[in-house]
């Protein structure tokens, strides 16, 4: 498996990272939300559009994004707080930002030696769908897709060499 040091500008994110990203996502949902995600073989269009972003800086430099619908974001907040969706509606931004943060941390800690050489930004959350996102990464995105409570969600990592 390539390390972050060995990625060149023409590379994609190393293939061996995909199962680590998938595991990092699953663990966060199982431990913090108490739910198992269903696998999706190919990313499906995500409606509603909440995007949480966490920057990676240091030896591993890039961006992790979590994309989901507004309904899914509200459900995530509800699951995290153990309360009804109506009671947690105002906290869905915070909730998906924190989920993205935990996924990013969990993922980088699974990359051998990367925990010490990469730091995370605080999360940022965008709502709406009429925007373009350019992370300045020079690798193709590594994306994993799941069904959360029957609705598609996706997590992507793009890396600077």
């Amino acid at each position: 498996m390539k390390t972050a040091n060995e990625i060149t500008a023409s590379d994609k994110v190393p293939e061996g990272w995909s199962p680590l990203l998938e595991l990092a996502v699953r663990e966060v949902f199982e431990i913090m939300l108490g739910c198992k995600l269903e696998a999706q073989t190919a990313p499906a269009p995500v409606s509603g559009d909440f995007t949480a972003m966490v920057g990676l800086a240091g030896q591993l430099c890039g961006l992790l994004t979590l994309h989901c619908s507004a309904h899914s974001a509200a459900l995530m907040a509800s699951r995290m707080l153990g309360a009804d969706v109506k009671e947690t509606d105002a906290q869905m931004w915070d909730a998906i930002g924190e989920i993205a943060n935990m996924i990013a941390g969990n993922f980088k800690n699974k990359l051998t030696g990367m925990g010490d050489r990469c730091v995370l930004s605080v999360p940022t959350v965008i709502t709406g769908s009429d925007y373009s996102l350019r992370s300045m990464a020079d690798t193709g995105p590594l994306e994993v897709a799941f069904l959360f409570e029957g609705a598609p969600i996706s997590v992507a990592v793009e890396v600077h060499s």
């Binding site: 663990e27 431990i31 995290m80 906290q91 935990m102 941390g105 925990g115 010490d116 730091v119 605080v122």
Partner: protein, 128 residues
């Protein structure tokens, strides 16, 4: 049994609530749980109040958790109060750094209530 006072420092209000819930699930009764959204707010909360336990994130705006730990050394009200870091920054160097400047425990996110219980209960000693 003495009722405890705890301070939770995290920039995520959702995470502060989850940490508080985890503490209660550990069977610890609190007279009060104070919240702060960064290290500076946390220091402010300790100016005129004493706590039995502090739980603190690392990555926060304004003042991060490691700087909070450093400045905590000079706060009279915080002397001897156990601090447990709860953070996504799970690297060995972060753990060593936090423990070397006063943290008594380190929990990586994501975490279970059982992990919180394992780390916190021994630190409360006879106060619980």
């Amino acid at each position: 049994m003495k009722k405890l006072r705890a301070l939770i420092v995290d920039d995520s209000s959702v995470m502060r609530k989850i940490v508080e819930r985890s503490l209660r699930q550990a069977g610890i009764e609190f007279a009060e749980v104070r919240e702060a959204s960064n290290g500076a707010e946390g220091l402010g909360a300790l100016k005129n109040e004493t706590m039995d336990l502090i739980l603190c994130d690392i990555n926060m705006p304004v003042m991060d958790g490691l700087e909070f730990l450093r400045q905590l050394q000079t706060v009279d009200n915080a002397k001897g109060v156990p601090v447990v870091m709860i953070t996504t920054e799970g690297s060995e160097s972060h753990v060593v750094q936090a423990l070397s400047i006063g943290a008594r425990g380190y929990i990586r996110k994501p975490f279970t209530p059982e992990q919180v219980k394992e780390h916190v209960i021994p630190l409360l000693g006879n106060t619980k």
